[in-house]
């Protein structure tokens, strides 16, 4: 692949109608909520941030052009930007930027789900320390499981840039989890 967007410049897509807002909310509300939580929006702010995002979607929907990209990438793109805006707004707040899970010791083997959440708390801190582009690629690719070409479309960057960001994010994450730092 020599050109960043070569893989994205396929034949003209078949005409697709733009879904109405109801359909978008029905299809994406759960995913938007989840993506915001993974991108660093605190639990208590998720309803408001989701509402802001869907107000933007509602207003911008007439501008969506199916010929220029997928609806999913368009919606995720708005999610990423609203989350970025949120983090900027909250960067000066005197509190942890990300949800902190209870740090109580969990007896081994007692509750795998709680252990997972504690481990996520550590990963969330690591992701919160990454710069935004690396964090966004990691979340979209590793957690949201978007194809890399679509990650690049969401973030409006060349695919190879997205790969580079992913590798950098992975290095940081693996280093943090290899160091044996306490959660």
């Amino acid at each position: 692949m020599s050109l960043p967007h070569a893989a994205l410049q396929g034949p003209a897509q078949e005409a697709r109608s733009v879904p109405n807002f109801d359909a978008i909310f029905a299809g994406y509300s759960r995913f938007a909520w989840r993506a915001f939580a993974r991108l660093g929006v605190q639990s208590r702010d998720l309803p408001d941030v989701c509402q802001e995002m869907f107000l933007v979607v509602h207003r911008k929907l007439p501008e969506f052009d199916p010929g220029r990209g997928s609806l999913r990438a368009w919606v995720y793109g708005i999610c990423v930007r609203v989350a970025s805006d949120y983090r900027r707004r909250h960067s000066n707040r005197r509190e942890a930027p990300l949800d902190q899970q209870p740090s109580l010791a969990v007896p081994a083997g007692q509750d795998a789900a709680l252990q997972d959440r504690r481990a996520w708390s550590k990963l969330a801190r690591v992701l919160g320390e990454l710069d935004a582009p690396k964090r966004e690629v990691f979340v979209l690719y590793e957690l949201e499981a978007l194809p890399m070409a679509e990650v690049a479309a969401v973030l409006q960057c060349p695919v190879q840039t997205a790969y580079a960001r992913l590798h950098a994010a992975r290095r940081a994450v693996l280093a943090a989890f290899a160091s044996g730092e306490p959660t």
Binding site: W33, S70, R89, A113, E142, E150
Partner: protein
Amino acid sequence: MSSPRRLLEGDAALPAELASALRGAPGEPGLEQLRELAGSLSAALGVPLPPVAAAPAAATVVAPAAFGVAAAKPLAGLGVWVLGGVALGVGLSGVAGYGSAAFGGPTPAISARPAAAQAVRRAPASAAPAVTAPPLPVEASTAQARAPAVASVASEPAAAEAAPGALPETELSLLRHARAAVASNPAEALRLSSRHAERFPSGLLAQEREVIAIDALVRLGRGDEARARTARFIEQYSGSVHVPRLRELLTRRGGQ
């Protein structure tokens, strides 16, 4: 270039704690959270949203077999119409026709994934590396999509921060208060909309602010100002979904 395998898709050297962290990432909202979101959004837009159902909508969700999601059964009888709630509410109650224009077509149920489907993600750490990629919204021809025209989202100035420890005044909270006041105290609504403009000059919800301000002006009998502000709005946001609503508002109240 083939995509690298995701971390949970077979990297044997993956630290167990990291695998656990990836499995422990936040999931989808619960049914009640989704209903509350639909309720507040419905109030904000001034129109009802379709029922929130507990079952995944097969037409909108990819359900990889690895998750067992396809086997999840819808929970019957949990559909509910959501209306009301406290929210921004730029909708103009009583404006006929808007709903059919902006919300036309079929209204699919809003679904929340059954708990059983999420439980699959909590596989024991000792298990073989599991594909924990969550289901994605269906999108035909997605991989071939070109870079989308993503909405440009501006931010308010960093200076607009609350005192340490206090909940910051957000765009949404400010406009929510403005909207709540517009009928009973339009002067206060107008003041709050002005405050929004000062604090969030490039905010996400500038158009919604203008709708509230124009509504307040009309209610205050300042029709000339309302019409002038509407004209500026239309000039700046000619394709906005709010334009028909503003015209209807001025017509309905006669700009009195």
